[in-house]
Symmetry: C2
Subunit: 321 residues, 2 copies
């Protein structure tokens, strides 16, 4: 949560000259997103978010991300909508960075998650999967199973600095997942990072999804596995089966899960837990000097992985037959 | 520029229950102010700023700061206006911190300062001094001359880590100022921190003043000396006499300067340069581990102090007879 690149009034005037949105009345750097710089800008036409893409986002992926948001918004999903300039372009440049102006969404991230929130997320996730079905661009998931070994190598023996034995736990888990990972599940566009920070609510009503910068093509049900990990654990890392049931049932109310998808949920959830354990671990071990962002504790996902390893079948998530 | 305290939806609901502003539609932590946490909140009644006062602000001073903003706004100065709850209170508590909800002001901080901006600041500063004349509360300036020796002591010999000889320069300067400081100048409420971050413009038109958390009672013309230091130097630290003239003349167009005030401008400007050199130096030497804010370079104010030491009279600031 930081603003990495400063934007001057002159930068804004130069950008806005290409749009039909009037002049800049206000511009505040906001603490949102860990990868990019975000500004809340007040224009004559209303409030918008200006995102400057920093180094961790590959500029070649921006047409996919921005095109996807536009595609999903056109299909009724509430997500930030890229605004085109007078030439029809949605990708701009501000202060030497690739940048985009998107619509401002009302809503708040929840901190105390209830089963109602989980149901909202399940339904929105299924809507996203359906709305994304006819999106023309493709982006492989760089953080799918084949991408995990390089993370394991990066962490190396230093994993044990976080918890003794962690390097061994990770290696064994990756070997297990590699041996058992399913490959024939329905594929499509997934959000891949639908944590509480990236979902807005107004009261108990879901009002929007944001931050599509990990979106990619992968097994649809893997997205649900990520959300079970992100939303359905209690602060003591026990899995809340009421929340899991609410999320899965709401998902199925919008998009049916096949028998193969249901059967795959436990192993995909183990995989999702390992994936976030690995990226957090690597970030934790590599905090740059003078960093403005505190890395998230990888141990949270070790606790979740341990639960996932103990799961005996889809029913443990609250799934009903 | 950081958000130190997180505010949850529940915290906001609890706060807003006491006001007639409707429900919370959005809340973004903004990168504004170095001392406090600030949120831009969207309520049914519009956009507001929620400020949580962190440790560096003395809670006992809040009635002065908030009362002053309200007093000045009532007299037509554009500054954030504290919003009272149904009991008429403007000071609240959020997430265990003293907090206040103030009106949202449009406008942008300028980075490339022109003489037109300097004139705007000069006129607004004089308006502030006139509007503050009948404000009932008093707050001594903790960072006036008697407050500088403790800062010198805090920095001590470590000043020389920044630039060899700095400790000696500072001691000699403080001795000079102590011997020559004027004590009979017109007093009143001063902003005391009117840097570019704290002034908003829409185009070339000044649209508001913010951040009154250093405001206090002191010599009015000392505020002008602070602004000459903050606004009228070029990036190479040469003083821009056109900007100085624009600021001083615009100030005099609203509030007359006495002969004593004009004569005191050089020594007060030396004092203002030393005051910001000292606080930046102490901050620079005491960056806490894991700090989210990069301290400002004290050497900027050493360069400015050297100019101020070379000034031979008020005419060097562009002052006309």
């Amino acid at each position: 949560m930081a603003v990495y690149t400063e934007v001057s009034a002159e930068d804004l005037d130069r950008l806005l000259a290409g749009y039909d949105l009037g002049t800049v009345k206000s511009c505040k750097g906001i603490a949102e997103g860990v990868e990019n710089s975000n500004y809340l800008v007040h224009l004559d036409a209303g409030f918008f978010i200006l995102t400057l893409y920093e180094k961790r986002v590959n500029a070649d992926d921006l047409p996919f991300f921005l095109g996807l948001m536009r595609h999903l918004a056109a299909r009724g999903l509430t997500c930030p909508q890229p605004v085109a300039n007078r030439n029809g372009e949605i990708l701009a440049e501000v202060a030497g960075r690739p940048a985009a102006l998107v619509t401002f969404l009302d809503g708040l991230s929840v901190r105390r998650v209830t089963p109602v929130h989980c149901a909202g997320v399940g339904a929105a996730l299924a809507q996203l999967h359906i709305a994304g079905a006819d999106f023309a661009l493709r982006r492989p998931n760089a953080l799918a199973l084949p991408g995990w070994q390089p993370l394991v190598d990066q962490a190396g023996a230093r994993a044990d600095e976080v918890t003794p034995g962690l390097a061994g736990t990770i290696s064994a888990e990756l070997a297990f997942l590699t041996a058992h990972w399913p490959h024939d599940l329905p594929q499509g566009v997934i959000h891949a990072d639908l944590f509480t920070d990236n979902v807005f609510f107004l009261g108990e009503q879901l009002s929007g999804l944001i931050d599509f910068y990990f979106a990619c093509n992968d097994a649809l049900v893997y997205d649900l596995a990520i959300c079970l990990n992100a939303w359905c654990f209690e602060p003591d890392f026990s899995f809340n089966i009421t929340k899991g049931m609410a999320m899965i049932e709401a998902y199925r109310g919008v998009r049916a899960l096949s028998a193969a998808e249901i059967a795959a949920l436990p192993i995909l959830s183990r995989g999702a837990a390992l994936r976030f354990l690995l990226t957090r671990l690597v970030d934790w071990l590599n905090v740059p000097k003078g960093a403005l962002v505190r890395p998230k504790d990888p141990k949270e996902y070790l606790r979740k992985l341990r639960f996932q390893q103990s799961v005996t079948g889809p029913r443990d998530y609250g799934l009903r037959d």
